[in-house]
């Protein structure tokens, strides 16, 4: 049952990821990316991480993608035009090297040792909101505080960049005035 779910959500994630790259319209890419996020959230639930799955849907599929779609709509992005393919002779070389890479990865996957502990086999509190919060505010308090400073810097930077007139022009105005 879990194997079937893994194959379903994994195939969904890979298909949507290919859609992100293959689509020429950025809006379609964004919608495919939301599909990737949702299927990854389902995989997180399978891995006994319900909190991370919820945050994935709320923060990624909610906040970040709304911001991206908002910018796409704001800038009225046109579709990418097809370009004349350059470096045509490199395509067979790239295919050959990709084949070698896939063979190497398959060898590693076959020869890697299986980890004895399976997901969800034993009942534990790893992944519950309580354990994450306890670790976040005791052992990992320093990364948490650094993250808050990072968010503050991001707020200031985004406001400076997106301000009316931009950074350069407003500086010119102040020197002129």
């Amino acid at each position: 049952m879990l194997v079937l779910l893994f194959i379903l959500f994994g195939a969904m994630a890979i298909g949507c990821a290919l859609g992100v790259v293959a689509q020429r319209n950025p809006l379609y890419s964004a919608i495919s990316l939301i599909g990737v996020f949702v299927s990854l959230a389902c995989l997180y639930v399978m891995l006994a991480a319900p909190f991370i799955a919820a945050v994935q849907v709320i923060v990624y599929a909610g906040a970040i993608m709304v911001l991206v779609v908002f910018v796409i709509m704001l800038l009225n992005v046109e579709e990418e035009e097809r370009r004349r393919p350059r470096l045509r002779f490199l395509v067979p070389a790239a295919i050959a090297l990709a084949g070698v890479l896939i063979a190497e990865v398959a060898f590693i996957l076959v020869s890697v040792q299986q980890v004895p502990v399976a997901a969800g086999s034993s009942v534990s509190d790893v992944g519950l909101t309580q354990s994450i919060g306890a670790a976040l505010f005791t052992k990992y308090l320093l990364p948490f505080e650094i993250t808050s400073i990072l968010l503050l810097m991001a707020i200031v930077g985004a406001m400076t960049l997106a301000r009316r007139g931009g950074l350069i022009r407003s500086r010119e105005q102040t020197t002129r005035g």
Binding site: V20, L47, A118, L136
Partner: protein, 101 residues
């Protein structure tokens, strides 16, 4: 039979490779940005898989922090994209090859 750790790692590697190929192939800044988000998510999947299989909460904590960094990156990156579009009337990275705004 349950899904093994290596399956999740393989899925994560595939997603990361697709994202990296997108960053290389795409010309549109916003599309490149979305491919970077895809790569971040592939790494997040690795973290959660290891945290689940080794019964350690640290991996999930770092996924949380990566998400925060991705949110900050989205805010600042989209601000930069808007500034580039205002100055050049285009989102093509080939036309933004000069650092001067």
């Amino acid at each position: 039979m349950e899904p093994q750790l290596s399956w999740y790692l393989a899925l994560s590697a595939v997603l990361f490779t697709i994202g990296m190929a997108g960053v290389i192939i795409k010309r549109n800044v916003i599309a490149m940005f979305m491919c970077i988000e895809l790569m971040l998510n592939a790494v997040n999947l690795t973290f959660v898989a290891f945290a689940s299989f080794f019964q350690d909460v640290t991996g999930q904590l770092f996924v949380f922090i990566v998400m925060t960094v991705a949110a900050a990156e989205a805010a600042v990156g989209l601000g930069i994209i808007i500034t580039i579009f205002r100055n050049r009337e285009s989102l093509d990275v080939d036309e933004a090859s000069i650092l001067k705004l």
